[in-house]
Each structure stands twice: as C-alpha cells, then as structure tokens.
C-alpha cells in the first residue's frame, strides 16, 4: 500500500494526520504494529507516541546522512590524492639511490 492509497481510505478529518504519521505505519510489519497496539491497550500512551516519533522518517535526518556521505567521500578523495603524491615521492627517492649507485659503479 502506498501513502496515497492510505489517504484515500481515510475520512477527511484524518487525512492531514496520515501525511505526517502514515509513512511510519506503512513501514511497520504486522508484528511491530501488534506490539505498538499492545502499548495502547495497556494505556502506555507516552511510550507508544515516543516509539512512533522515533520510527518516523524525517527529512532533516536524511539530509544529515547525505552530508555525512558527501564529507566522507571528499575526505577519501583527498586521502587518495595524498597517497599518489607519497607514491611518487617514494619512487623519486628510490631512483635517486639507484642513480647514486650507478654513478659510483661507473666512476663518476
């Protein structure tokens, strides 16, 4: 079921609530819903509401995830470039040693 299907099924006064909380219910399994409903039956409404908020996908959390991934990629690209500079420096050093050895062998 999509969010639009859910909204279509509801009476008009519940539709605005479905926009905010519907996606959380759509991602729940039947067992998760049963456990959540059990909290309501027991009257533990604060826990039930906190669980609902914690499970609710928020745009801000998603944006933060994109920023973290973008930052990590930039760091990894910088580390890659640094590694190439180091490889070149190491090879240049090795060639300097080889050159010194060669010059010594040939008596320069």
């Amino acid at each position: 079921m999509t969010l639009d299907d859910l909204i279509a099924k509801l009476p008009a006064q519940f539709k605005p609530w479905a926009t905010q909380y519907g996606p959380t219910f759509l991602t729940m399994t039947a067992d998760q819903f049963k456990a959540w409903f059990q909290l309501l039956i027991q009257g533990d409404i604060y826990t039930a509401y906190r669980q609902l908020l914690a499970a609710s996908p928020t745009a801000e959390a998603d944006i933060a995830a994109w920023d973290v991934a973008g930052g990590k990629l930039a760091d990894d690209v910088i580390a890659n470039a640094d590694s190439i500079v180091l490889q070149k420096a190491a090879l240049t050093k090795l060639l300097e040693i080889m050159l010194t050895l060669g010059l010594s062998v040939f008596g320069f």
Binding site: T2, L3, D4, T19, P23, L26, P57, A59, D62, I63, A65, W66, D67, A69, G70, K72, L73, A74, D76, V77, I78, A79, N80, A81, S83, I84, V85, Q87, K88, L91
Partner: protein
Amino acid sequence: MRTLARILMASILGAACVGFAGCSGLQTRGIMTPFVITNANIATVELGTLPVPKAQADDSIHRNAVWFTLYRQNATMNVLAYWFGGKMIFTNAALYQDVNQFAALHDDYIAKTTTRPALYTEAQVNHILSVSDTAAVNIEKAREGVKP
C-alpha cells in the same frame, strides 16, 4: 590471445601507474571512463545553476541515481574481476564504500519520494542534488587522483 593481451596490458599499465603517475584508488576502463568524465562535467555545469525548481532538481537526482547504480554495478576491489570479470571500476576499500553508500542514498531518496512526494522542501531537494552532483564530480577527481 585476447587474455594474453589483457595480461600484458595490465602489466604495462600497472608499471606505468606506479612509475609515472602513481596508482589512484579509483580507476576505470572501457565505457566507464567517458561515462564518469561526462557525468562529472554535467554535474559541474549543473552545480553552477542551483537552485532550480523542485521538479527539475528531482529529475536530476533520478538521473544521478542511474549513474550511481551503474557505478555500484561496475565497482570492484578485486583486480582480477576488474581485468577479467567484466567490472570496469577498480576502487580501494574506502571509495568502494562511498560508491555503494551514494547508490543506496539515491535508492532511498527515490523510494521515499515515490510514496511521499512532499517529504522534502524545494531547498532540501536542491541541497540533496548539490551533494549528489558534488559526489559525481569527486568520483572523477578520485579517478584523476587530484584533490576536490
């Protein structure tokens, strides 16, 4: 004969890579090379035009999702899979993780906005596109071995 030519080419390129340019943690071959370069060019131009209307930004994120899906499908950390297994992007572990992470983020964006088109504001969609385009540019920079 073809396999022998590939082994020879890999050896020559490997030597050249170490000897002259240094080995980048992200290398491409075949069609992936122009693909990565072209995508980075498109992303660079697009970054200069942001912000754009929400629908346009959303279209661009869908386009980038195709790019990153192809990167994910072609990326490998196994040099044998790169040269002989049909994979066309060779990466180190960190960049492999980044490629997969960005492909997953694009998948997540599409899944969420399909069921919930109003989840993100226009500014947020533009922000996501900006991160996505910058990632495409950084993939090319990793290939070139230069800093962002």
